[in-house]
Symmetry: C2
Subunit: 266 residues, 2 copies
DNA sequence: TCAATAAGCTGGCTCAAGCCTGTTGACTGC
DNA sequence: GCAGTCAACAGGCTTGAGCCAGCTTATTGA
């Protein structure tokens, strides 16, 4: 890329009326989008950018910050700033509860990981009887003030990265006294196998999808870098009688995962 | 909220080992989450925070920046910093192409706006014959290098806010010579009415959903403030013969819109 | 040969100061 | 009564300096 001649010192804006930090960011952005700086390549250091543009280091730093917040660039302490290398997305499919995966031995999540050449696994964080949030109580038709639900908390990993944080609520009237209390689900078809044995066959699913920035906790749990949003998915399982009998919230890193729906138009 | 006693000057970290900017941010965050600072309420000014914590103004500023990037706070030039007041989300439903809305006179988007007490409308930015991006050409089965598609570009508004930026591609072999070239679609059932007349009845839809930070352009188009992601939805319409005949990309502000799917489990 | 060390790079954070632009409300004068 | 003006205060951006912490590599010494 080409750097500008040093302009007059202390000038807040250059002749084109652009603020210095924006100008540096714009130039770098263009270089990235034009492919002059390839994915994974190192950008000039903050001190070098500052010198080339005749600005203070803080100004070059501000430019980098803008690019990082936009997710264009990955900053690594002590190493440098690198053009972001997008990772292939794992796709959570709408067919993940389909019976067609029965007997395959692999859950849809693990299948998808395998497809992307990664090793998937999940970790049980906690299983307990507890009180549902109001929203969950409403949807499941259980009392909010009591320990009316089984709560399972999981983390899904793809390779060495945590990608989903998952919380599941099931009415205690359904889950009580079943294998749902164990970390290892004692049923060949997993959680939903047990729920079917209790008389609830998933006939419909309702899902809402929103995106937002992670909370401080989620940032830690999912090892999210700055400028990465999370997808929040609320899934409700509806049985053959129209009853909502299970509810799951997924918090997903948007840099590593996406959603896929393949559905009939009614 | 309670402010700390001024600690020794020039200390990089306070006794608890927390950086000053993080400490200010943490205190403010806790005050917000505890409800001490209610939604819409003004935070202390940067200069005031700096004085109370015995830091430089830039440090208080950094704290505010952290909160703004997390979407907890809205910064208004000249006015102050305010606790973010979440707006009700417009939900784009998976049933939006359903025939059940036929004859209602309102499109699903306008219905959803009305439900939230807002006035919805949309604006046609451009309609032209053009070249599809490779991804689109692949999916629609048209040549990538030629002007093989009709491209329509729209913006959807809810009240005074732009919420969706929408691009639609339709093979020219289908769209050519139809009312799809007009801004006002001359068909009571809209675009999909015309496509049905050409022999394509939507039988399935495929959608992929991802989240990311907006590009500079999108930030402008959608009037997005810092710390707000966009949802990117790629929709493919599949007809009764399994042919993909229409493709739409939605770029949606995640602070004002979400998605909703209500689907059978197959 | 190999491990410990140190130099020299990277970004991370802060300071104190200055000048800019946008907003508001009180004051002024018609 | 009302419009124009202006001061006070808000955030926006920059400077140039300093020190800290993480990474890499070349050097050193056992």
């Amino acid at each position: 890329m080409v750097y500008p001649a040093r302009v007059n010192e202390h000038a807040a804006v250059d002749p084109a009326g652009i603020l210095p930090s924006r100008r540096i960011a714009r130039d770098l952005r263009q270089a990235i989008e034009a492919g002059e700086l390839a994915a994974g390549q190192r950008l000039p250091s903050e001190r070098e950018l500052a010198a080339r543009y005749g600005t203070a280091r803080n100004t070059a730093r501000e430019a980098i910050r803008l690019l990082a917040a936009a997710g264009l660039v990955d900053v690594e302490h002590g190493r440098g700033v690198f053009v972001h290398r997008p990772a292939p997305l794992l796709r959570l499919g709408s067919d993940r509860y389909s019976r067609c995966y029965r007997g395959a031995g692999l859950s849809p999540f693990l299948l998808e990981c395998a497809k992307q050449g990664m090793t998937g696994r999940f970790e049980v964080l906690s299983i307990e009887r507890g009180r549902p949030p109001e929203k969950v109580a409403d949807e499941l038709g259980v009392p909010a003030g009591q320990e009316s639900v089984l709560i399972r908390e999981n983390v899904f990993w793809a390779g060495t990265s945590p990608v989903h944080r998952v919380t599941t609520w099931i009415p205690w009237t359904i889950a009580g006294g079943t294998g749902l209390l164990e970390a290892e689900i004692p049923h060949p078809y997993g959680i939903h196998g047990i729920l079917e044995d209790r008389g609830h066959v998933m006939t419909r699913q309702r899902e809402t999808v929103t995106a937002r920035m992670p909370t401080t906790q989620e940032e830690g749990h999912l090892q999210i870098r700055a400028g990465v949003a999370v997808l929040e998915v609320w899934h409700t399982s509806i049985d053959q009688h129209g009853i909502a009998y299970e509810l799951t919230r997924f918090v997903m890193r948007s840099d590593l995962t996406g959603l896929h729906y393949d559905i009939p138009v009614e």
